[in-house]
Subunit: 393 residues, 2 copies
Amino acid sequence: MNAEFRSLAEKYRSALLGDVLPFWQKHSLDTDHGGYFTCLDRCGEVYDSDKFVWLQGRQVWLFAMLYNRLEKNPAWLEVARSGAEFLRRHGRDSSGNWYFSLTAAGDPLVQPYNIFSDCFAAMAMSQYALASGDDEAREIALETFKNILRRKENPKGAYSKVFPGTRPLRSFALPMILSNVALEMEWMLDPALLEETLDASVRDIMGRHYDSARRLLFENVAPDGTHVDSFEGRLISPGHGIEATWFMMDIARRRGDTALAARATEALLAACAFGWDKEYEGLFYYLDADGHPPDQLAWDQKLWWVHAEALVALSLGYALTGEAECLEWFRRVHAYTWQYFPDPPCGEWYGYLNRRGEVLLPLKGGKWKGCFHVPRALFLCMNTFNELADRHA
Amino acid sequence: MNAEFRSLAEKYRSALLGDVLPFWQKHSLDTDHGGYFTCLDRCGEVYDSDKFVWLQGRQVWLFAMLYNRLEKNPAWLEVARSGAEFLRRHGRDSSGNWYFSLTAAGDPLVQPYNIFSDCFAAMAMSQYALASGDDEAREIALETFKNILRRKENPKGAYSKVFPGTRPLRSFALPMILSNVALEMEWMLDPALLEETLDASVRDIMGRHYDSARRLLFENVAPDGTHVDSFEGRLISPGHGIEATWFMMDIARRRGDTALAARATEALLAACAFGWDKEYEGLFYYLDADGHPPDQLAWDQKLWWVHAEALVALSLGYALTGEAECLEWFRRVHAYTWQYFPDPPCGEWYGYLNRRGEVLLPLKGGKWKGCFHVPRALFLCMNTFNELADRHA
């Protein structure tokens, strides 16, 4: 297996450095206003110039993170700087909340209704501050993080359409992302606040949202963790669940918590089995826990990020637990992913395939797909397989 | 053609009376709380009991309208009464705005953020008042209508996420629905208010949203009718455009306005040509006017209501203008629709097909599909073909 691991590490490294990063460096930079264009067609042509704060933050984070962890490449720092400056100038309202989207020039288009804009901005500013030594970026990251914790119990605020009291539901997404954001900000957070945030995330995800009898991670549960028989309460997002398991594994690894690693791996394998399309292969986007029709019309589509997250989680699960099923599942998802998503003539990965694996939208980037899941997965898988190869050498 | 028209009228009549109405009468009635279950699986089993005000209102309207216009069937009035009573008791907040959804028992789940709930409630209460002579229903309808006109310029109110001023856009949906709501309420509206509402709708739709050079109805335009190069500004919903053309034809017929009928028919034929899937047939759900990837992942799906609206518009366009292309297009959409949507073993129509026409969700009703587009289209097509057959007799 040593040769297999080494060759996997090399495959992921060369896709990262030879294909995906150059694609974004070549096509996404807005040299007029700073920041990034993310709506890129098949071969990288810009088809829309609006700027989405999720994706601005994620690309800053990605390039700064690689600068910090892979190579002190000044071109990468410069890419990160462009986005960080754009965000610093245009990203926030007067209360420090992050807008959802902006024009190319930075005028606000959509209000700060979405707390994940803040999460990705905090990650971005933190990694950029670490890379650049920029104190203002560090402060913006910290203020944003504290603001997220303040808004945590009611993240949509006045934009929430839920009538209070009738059917209270806890959503999975924020505690999940917070565990990742906190680890990304570890270098600058007060250690007690970090541990507290991680504890809360593990409690929410593995305690409240993971149903250990059914081995399923539910997107929405009642505050006491029980199920609510409704569209939201039955919703399963296999990719979301899979992504959460590797955030949990990251915490487990950091703490040497083998029980958490085992439990997260169990959840991961169950999510893969539940989410796999037995007819056409690949992982579904959404499912109903009880097999009813989900409310999401895109439920049967095969999305790039779902598969990228599965590659990260399965390789990490194998590295942490040695569970053979992780490696079997990794090989299955790897084969599917590399057959259907990459596009060698133009570079990067397609984002959206239909159930059969045919291209649904011929884009490399859009309102939701930017420079994030693909290069992050390539980087993390490369590291994991290098580590596995070294271990077996 | 006389025999063809007569046989089409008979086909639509027998589907309405022998299949679709009985399906909803048998499966949707909530005998405990009143109102309707709309989440019905392939053979009519309830898989979710939440109640969506759009669909409650639409089913009240449908049964009351048939009672008023087709047959004084007391069972139909009783179905309408059940939903009207449920809505009257549970549908509104203290300011008279209509919630988006309720539990089976009538407790509010989702706030009144969506003005179309009010539109369908107004149509429902008006037709029910006409059928039953119920004065309170009549008053609720009128209050709701006036409330819609008051909220018209800012229909989402505090729930709007758009940052004011950067990129003002006018949406097509509300003026379109208002033209239909106003005609449905004609019997009870002040004639001046009715004409004023219809004038404004025609101005908005055929003046502002219809690009006569490109022959395309745009979902969103700048206040002066110019195009805005953005996801929203490039969005085309062929089904929406098609539906609007028959609302315009309804107004044209009422006013004897042959120019408006001709213009609406031109827009209809162009929408069919633009929206038609040349590879797998059927009408797409969403397209980008400039051929870029639309933001909507379900863009290539074939939806029941899009095809139902096309059948109504094409038959009416033919009846009003005699345009041969309308009849050709009608035959094409008719053939596609009857091949893919109906489900004789269980009844009613599937709602959601993938691009190839395969069933995407095996449901007959859900959060958005209720007892509305299919029976309305069957009823209207039946009438139009009876009229055409009589005319050619």
